[in-house]
Every structure is written in structure tokens, then in C-alpha cells.
């Protein structure tokens, strides 16, 4: 029995129809049936947010350095940074490893928001990361803040790829109620391979795999697996068609750079994605942080500056805003191992053509501390609210479940 690809899609549909997928079903089905015809390149360009998560607790004091403040050098006799290569103002300088960020700052495309945090901070990596990802310091939540955004604001969007995580593990921030957000490591690996040794078998195999992964509800685990598989097969069909057109001469550094290159590739493909998420590590600097911390910061700063060079070539600098955060800052006083232990408030960064470059937010006092840690001056949810309201055309009140005001960065 020879089966055309259209028949395969039809079989997939009947499998799907028995399962309640909530509000996503119509979009999902229409997308699926039209998968072969929809010219994905014809979507309009909406504003895009890229979130860069700096995992481990970035030492903000050694990132945006108050080099005229004696208290800083008193608390950090060994690890306090004296090299004034990257002065921003008469009070602050960047860590000397952040050359890429200094260039962006000079072009007015980097906003630094000092003193970001939240009430009653926890010093647990995991709980604090969860708080930043769910925007809910009061109690644990299942859905992420960007998941809420996708559920609320992108309800009518036709895109299958409203949000994309570039990396292995989906962060809580992107956990949505309406549909699973895909994780893509690289465009190359994001394909569904068949045995090319035998043409006919390959067709039959394609059909059987699609059918046996059609959404079913025998158990919660099977439902979850089959939904993921069904979505993946459709997404890969779409992406393969478009992503091959990306060409760029920009050299990206390894690690985070490669992830951002994949983001650039997907932006170029124009799949209607509004939110991208990438992660990098190396910020949990409990010991001998001098070399390691600089390297981690250089990694972020070089990767993001390469990304914006690439976007500039595509003419999309004004369409993409990047936000960097970490789950907490670190203790003001250096510890016994020339490192720093878990702390509280720290800076956030925003990059992009439409960002109001410069230094925002009050730098926390180095003497009025909370258990040795900096007190926050900007609730991070105020930054989220600003992005949601001013950049993503969403209602921050609905997404975050409260009003947090705005900060003048966009």
C-alpha cells in the first residue's frame, strides 16, 4: 500500500482529534494540515525577545564595578578589580573582560539595570532560579513567566514556534499551558532521519513513526511523549524548509555564541517566534574567581556582540532585544577562598537597537546590607513588566498577575 504524505497527515489528524488539547487544537490542526503549503517566510516581523540566563549567581559587584567606592576594595582586598580599562562613567566600569559589552554601551545599545532582585531573597540556586523564571517569589509555580506570556498574549498566533529554547533542557520560564515549547540544540540535529538505504522502506517507516506517535491518552506519560513527538515531527518539517537559507560571515565564539547563532538562524527563517531562551554557566564562583569569572563574562559579552553584528547585517538590530539575568548576585565580602558565596541583588542587562542605553536603577549601598548581601533597588518584575508592555505588546498585569510599574529602558 503506497501512502502519500497527505494521507499520513490525515491519519495523524484522526489520532489527534480524540484528545483534548484545549485552545491549541484549532491552530495546531490547521497548521498541520497546511504544513506543506504555508509559506512561512511571509509572516510579518514582530518584536523579538532573547533571554540569556547566566546560571550560578553572577557576581554583580565584579561585573559593574563601583571603582570610586572604597567600601568595594575594603570588602574585596584580593578579588577587587583595579583595572580601569572599561570605564563607563566617572563612577562605574565594566569588568575588563567585557570588551564586547563596552562597544555596545558606547553605541548606546546596552542598558545596565543595577540592583535587581526581589523581597526576602533566597540563597538557594534552585529556588531563586525558579523565582526568576516564574516571577513568583511568594510560592512555587508550575508555569513560567514566558509560558504565561505565550498562553495569554500569543493565543491567536499561527506560529508553531511561538517560543524556542535553544539548548537541551526546557527552562521553567518557558513552561506553558497551551502547548509544549520546543528545545532545539542545533538546526542540524533537529531532523527526523530515515534509512536512506532503502527508498520504499523509508516512506513506510516515516508513516509508521508518525502514526504511532499520534497523540494518545493511555497514560499521562504517553500523552506527554506523543504530544512532544507529534509537535517535533511537524516543527522539523517546517524548519528544514526555511533554515537552510541562512548565511553569515560573523564569527561566533563557542558555547553561548553557537546557541545565539542558532537563534540568528531561526530569526532569519522568520517562523513567528517571539521569545528565544539560551543559558550559559560558570557564575557560581565560590573560589579563586579571578580568572574564571572574567572568562564567563567574556563569553556572554563576546557572544552577544557577535549576535548583534549578525543582526545588523540582517537589518534586524531594532527588532531584537536581549535581556540577561542571573538568579542572584554574590556576598559583598570575599570569602576565605578568594571567591564569593551566594548573595542577593545584582545587575540585569538589556541589549538592542531600541534599548535606551546607559545605566539605570540605583546602585545598591555597600554598607547598608542584609546579612552581608546587597539590598535590591529594582524589583526584577518591573523589568519583566516593561518588556511585556513596551516591547512584546502584552498586558503585564495579566501575564505577571500584578502591576509592577515600568523602568525607562525601552
Amino acid at each position: 500500500m503506497q501512502t502519500s504524505r497527505r494521507d499520513v497527515l490525515r491519519v495523524g489528524l484522526s489520532g489527534l482529534a480524540v484528545v483534548s488539547l484545549g485552545s491549541t487544537v484549532p491552530t495546531f490542526l490547521s497548521r498541520m494540515a497546511l504544513a506543506e503549503q504555508v509559506p512561512t517566510t511571509q509572516m510579518s516581523r514582530d518584536n523579538i525577545l532573547v533571554v540569556v540566563q547566566m546560571s550560578g549567581g553572577n557576581d554583580g559587584l565584579n561585573t559593574v564595578i563601583p571603582f570610586t567606592n572604597d567600601e568595594y576594595y575594603k570588602a574585596r582586598p584580593v578579588i577587587g578589580i583595579k583595572d580601569q580599562k572599561l570605564k563607563l562613567t566617572d563612577k562605574f566600569m565594566l569588568n575588563p573582560a567585557m570588551i564586547g559589552f563596552k562597544d555596545l554601551f558606547d553605541q548606546g545599545q546596552l542598558a545596565i539595570i543595577n540592583g535587581c532582585g526581589y523581597p526576602s531573597p533566597t540563597r538557594s540556586h534552585f529556588r531563586s532560579m525558579e523565582i526568576w523564571q516564574t516571577a513568583a517569589p511568594e510560592k512555587p509555580e508550575t508555569l513560567g513567566w514566558l509560558g504565561h506570556y505565550i498562553d495569554h498574549a500569543l493565543r491567536g498566533s499561527q506560529s508553531m514556534l511561538k517560543g524556542v529554547n535553544v539548548g537541551q533542557e526546557l527552562p521553567r520560564a518557558l513552561v506553558a499551558d497551551s502547548a509544549p515549547v520546543p528545545s532545539i540544540q542545533s538546526i542540524n540535529d533537529f531532523s527526523f532521519k530515515l534509512d536512506r538505504g532503502s527508498q520504499f522502506d523509508a516512506k513506510m517507516e516515516d508513516q509508521i513513526i508518525r502514526e504511532c506517535n499520534a497523540v494518545r491518552n493511555d497514560s499521562p506519560a504517553l500523552e506527554y511523549l506523543s504530544r512532544q513527538a507529534t509537535n517535533a515531527i511537524i516543527e522539523t518539517d517546517n524548519i528544514r524548509k526555511v533554515a537552510s537559507s541562512y548565511k553569515s560571515d560573523v564569527k561566533y565564539p563557542r558555547g553561548l555564541g553557537e546557541q545565539l547563532r542558532t537563534v540568528a538562524q531561526l530569526i532569519n527563517g522568520n517562523f513567528g517566534t517571539r521569545v528565544f531562551y539560551v543559558q550559559c554557566g560558570g557564575f557560581d564562583t565560590h573560589g579563586n574567581q579571578f580568572a574564571g569569572h572574567g572568562q564567563s563574562l567574556a563569553n556572554v559579552s563576546n557572544a552577544i556582540s557577535a549576535f548583534y553584528r549578525d543582526l545588523a547585517e540582517m537589518g534586524l538590530t531594532d527588532k531584537v532585544t536581549t535581556m540577561c539575568f542571573s538568579e542572584f548576585g554574590r556576598r559583598v565580602q570575599q570569602n576565605g577562598s578568594n571567591g564569593t558565596d551566594h548573595g542577593a541583588a545584582g545587575p540585569m542587562f538589556m541589549v538592542g537597537g531600541k534599548v535606551k542605553g546607559g545605566i539605570h536603577g540605583e546602585y545598591p549601598s555597600l554598607t547598608d546590607l542584609d546579612g552581608g548581601d546587597l539590598k535590591y533597588t529594582v524589583d526584577f518584575r518591573k523589568v519583566y513588566a516593561t518588556i511585556l508592555d513596551k516591547w512584546l505588546a502584552a498586558d503585564s498585569n495579566a501575564v505577571l498577575g500584578g502591576k509592577f510599574g515600568a523602568i525607562d529602558v525601552l
Binding site: 540544540q185 533537529f190 527508498q199 517507516e205 499521562p220 577562598s337
Partner: protein, 460 residues
């Protein structure tokens, strides 16, 4: 909505086979997946229809005096130099594939995930090697002894900065994580407890020995108790907290039984841990002998980890795999052994699966079965297995793989499609399939790939 099952009646009673709950392929497969990496045709034959105690004895009663892998590892002298961390990763996977004691490797992997230490920071490969050997040796022993060993373990002393934690210059990292992640869970201690406890762990040098003048002999107040606490005293104090046995019972249930254990179950096994003085072997054997473990509620309730997928498939089809291929495959699926993402370890379950990793799993099935590259050293292993089992017709081949990979529990519609698949040759010509030689056979390989691409196959 998905069908949601409930835990069984008499959950903690010892499972005893009956006519409607036999110790068949399904239950033997279940046990071998949870206590190891999955069944082989030989193991299924050996244990089905026998008393479950025979399989449990085989899994649990191994001697620590000799290493059954020595002969096999000698073949790999070049590999066992551990010049590079990749070699150690492959050594770990090699053990899992070839071991005659799957539980020893499985429990070592469990502790590797529990005390999640990463070679990304611990760049001395021999430290990582010693830590894995410790988990293999103490894995089924006393949890107290294990905690004491971990506290003095070189890899851990580097990973969580214990080596730099000295009198007057405390480093809180280990003290925080032993309470938050290893023994109690968040919410069961205060920030004050972290700072005081850190002082009890001061003075342990990188070689695991105590340097007396770097140890803080002063009084510490932890959990409201004050005294000149040292490392072992601190561990005893932590283990005396009511949260401690529950924390471990929950973790064991999650790993071996069900991703969402109930409070009753946690409390029961927490009590057993206390009653056995933290004896892992006794508690875990009780858990894996229970009605709870063999219930419909627990069956296929977990999602296989990448290591379980990769090692399990390799074991099922007779091993002889190319280790770098296995290592790279687990990494692409999101579980690079010796490199857990952070000190909490891999979150597991749903987080293993996203649209990327599900495709990587399917593609792994294709690579393993078709062996277009050098995935296998020997290429004819798969057909040999079928010939030995007299599975030579299309229908027999479907049954053979369905049993080996899915406990024979396959949807009837899917089974029919696979039988039809076996009947069609190139260009759509109908044929009667017959396996005649042990040469790689496209249809057999395709069949294996298809079964590994079902959602059921992703479940443990």
C-alpha cells in the same frame, strides 16, 4: 484527559505471583529496567515463571571482593588509562553494558545523580574515577557511611569547595548543599544553620584528611543544638532530623518506583530506613519486592533516562557497541555522564523529553540498528539473536523485538502494521519474509528502529 491509575491495595506487602499477576515478561522486564538497564533474551528466559526472589537475589547479592569486569576491562587497557575524561565516561558506559550485576551500576548512577559532581569543575579525572568507584562500592551500604565518604571525597572537596573551607575562612558551599540537596531538602534549615554547619566541615584537605589546625574547634549552633561539632557529628545531627529519612525515601521511590510517590509511601520507607539504620540494600530490596513496585500504577510510569535508552538498547541486542558512539548519543539526548548540569543533578522524567531530544532518540534507534557508521564493532549481533531464538519469519521477528524492547506489550494496530511492513520489499513488491543468514538485514534493522521510535519505548 489521560487515564490516571491509583496505587494498589496492600502496597507494602510482598508481591507474590498469581494467575492474573504472573511473574511474566512484563514484570521481569519492569524489574530489570528499574534495577538495571533492561532485559536481554537470556535474562527473560532465566527469570520468567520463577519465584521473583530468584531475580532479586541475583540483582542484590553480589560480592564486593572481586570485580567481574576485570577480564573484560583488561582487553581495554588502552581505554583504562583515563588520560581524558571521555575515556572515563566510556568506562562507566562500558561497565553498564557488560556487567553481570546491573544493579551495582544502576545504584552507582543513582548516587552520581544524587551527589551530582561534574567533571566540568573537577578536572582531575582520577578524582572522578575514585568517586564513581566509591558509589559502586558503597551504593547498597549504609547511607551514613556514604555521606561520611562523600564528605571526604576528593572530587566532592573540589566540586563544592570543601578543600578551601578553613577555620576563620569558612566556605558555605558544601554545608548548604548537604542540607538542601543531599540529606534534608529546602525549608528544613535556616541560613544560620548553613553558616554554622560550614564551620563543622572546616579543615578537610583536598586529599580527604583533616588538618587539625585548620579545623574550627569552637562551638557551633546547628538546629538549636550547640557543641564543638566535627564532620561526622554534623552528619549524625543532620541524619537525626525528621526530614532526613523522608528526603532519601522520596528520592529512592522517585528513581525506582514512580515519579510522584505519595506521602504514605514516603513515610513507610522513611521508617524502614530508620529501622534498618539507613541500610540501603534492605530498604531498596523491600521496595523492589512490593506489590507497589509490581503494580499497574508503577509500570511504565517513568520516562527512561538517555543512559537507560542507550545502554538498554545496546544490552538488548548483545552489546559490542562503539563506546564513543554511546557516549555522544547520551550527551545529545541531554545526559552526559560525569557532567550533570548542576549540583541538583538531572531533573529527569518530562525534562528528558522535548522536541529536540525525542528526535535524537528516534535517530539513535536508526543509527544503532542500521549501523551505517562504526556504531558497532561486530555487525551481525542482531541477526544472530533472532536466529538463536528461531525468530525467522516476519511475524516471529515482530514478536521477538516486541518482547525484548516492549515486554510484548504493543498496541494490536501497531503490531499489524509492523507485520505488514515485513511483507513489503523494495519498490512495494510483496514478499514472504524469511531470515536466513546472520548478515545485516534491512528489514530486521528497520523493524528495530521502528520499535525504538514508539512512545512506549521511551518509558521505563
Amino acid at each position: 484527559m489521560a487515564v490516571v491509575l491509583q496505587p494498589p491495595a496492600d502496597p507494602f506487602g510482598v508481591y507474590s505471583p498469581t494467575a492474573d499477576r504472573p511473574f511474566d515478561d512484563r514484570r521481569v522486564g519492569h524489574l530489570l529496567r528499574r534495577a538495571g538497564f533492561g532485559p536481554t533474551t537470556e535474562w527473560l528466559k532465566q527469570f520468567t515463571g520463577q519465584p521473583p526472589a530468584a531475580a532479586l537475589d541475583w540483582l542484590f547479592n553480589y560480592s564486593l571482593d572481586e570485580d567481574p569486569m576485570n577480564d573484560k576491562l583488561e582487553v581495554l587497557q588502552g581505554l583504562v588509562t583515563f588520560q581524558k575524561v571521555e575515556m572515563l565516561q566510556e568506562w562507566c558506559l562500558f561497565r553498564m553494558v557488560y556487567t553481570p550485576r546491573p544493579l551495582q551500576e544502576k545504584i552507582a548512577l543513582f548516587w552520581h545523580n544524587h551527589f551530582a559532581t561534574s567533571a566540568a569543575k573537577v578536572d582531575q579525572t582520577n578524582y572522578m574515577h575514585k568517586q564513581m568507584e566509591m558509589f559502586r562500592k558503597l551504593g547498597l551500604g549504609s547511607f551514613r557511611e556514604l555521606l561520611v565518604s562523600v564528605t571526604h571525597d576528593q572530587a566532592m572537596l573540589v566540586w563544592l569547595d570543601g578543600r578551601t573551607n578553613k577555620k576563620g575562612k569558612a566556605n558555605e558551599n558544601y554545608a548548604r548543599e548537604i542540607m538542601e540537596l543531599f540529606a534534608l531538602g529546602v525549608g528544613n534549615y535556616t541560613e544560620q544553620d548553613v553558616q554554622e554547619l560550614a564551620r563543622a566541615f572546616t579543615g578537610i584537605a583536598e586529599n580527604g584528611k583533616l588538618i587539625p589546625n585548620q579545623f574550627d574547634k569552637g562551638d557551633k549552633t546547628v538546629f538549636g543544638k550547640t557543641g564543638p561539632l566535627d564532620a561526622e557529628g554534623a552528619i549524625d545531627l543532620i541524619l537525626s532530623q525528621p526530614a532526613a529519612p523522608k528526603h532519601l525515601a522520596h528520592k529512592l521511590l522517585k528513581e525506582f518506583v514512580h515519579p510522584h510517590p505519595t506521602d504514605d509511601q514516603v513515610n513507610h520507607y522513611a521508617e524502614r530506613l530508620l529501622a534498618t539504620k539507613w541500610d540501603i540494600k534492605t530498604t531498596l530490596r523491600e521496595m523492589l519486592s512490593s506489590n507497589l513496585f509490581f503494580s499497574d500504577w508503577a509500570y511504565r510510569a517513568k520516562i527512561k533516562s538517555p543512559i537507560q535508552v542507550v545502554v538498554g538498547a545496546t544490552v538488548a541486542v548483545g552489546g559490542k557497541a562503539n563506546m564513543p558512539f554511546l557516549r555522544e548519543s547520551t550527551a545529545k539526548m541531554g545526559q552526559e555522564i560525569l557532567f550533570p548540569p548542576n549540583v541538583k543533578g538531572w531533573d529527569g522524567e518530562e525534562t528528558w523529553i522535548n522536541s529536540n531530544t525525542i528526535l535524537v532518540r528516534f535517530n539513535f534507534g536508526l543509527s544503532l540498528s542500521t549501523q551505517r557508521a562504526d556504531e558497532f564493532v561486530k555487525k551481525s549481533q542482531i541477526e544472530k539473536g533472532l536466529l538463536a531464538a528461531n525468530a525467522t519469519t516476519g511475524e516471529q521477528a515482530v514478536d521477538y523485538f516486541a518482547r525484548l524492547l516492549l515486554d510484548g506489550k504493543i498496541q494490536p494496530k501497531m503490531k499489524q502494521e509492523l507485520i505488514d511492513y515485513m511483507k513489503v520489499a523494495d519498490k512495494g513488491k510483496k514478499v514472504v519474509f524469511e531470515l536466513k543468514t546472520d548478515k545485516p538485514n534491512d528489514k530486521i534493522r528497520g523493524l528495530m528502529h521502528l520499535l525504538m521510535s514508539t512512545p512506549e519505548y521511551q518509558l521505563a
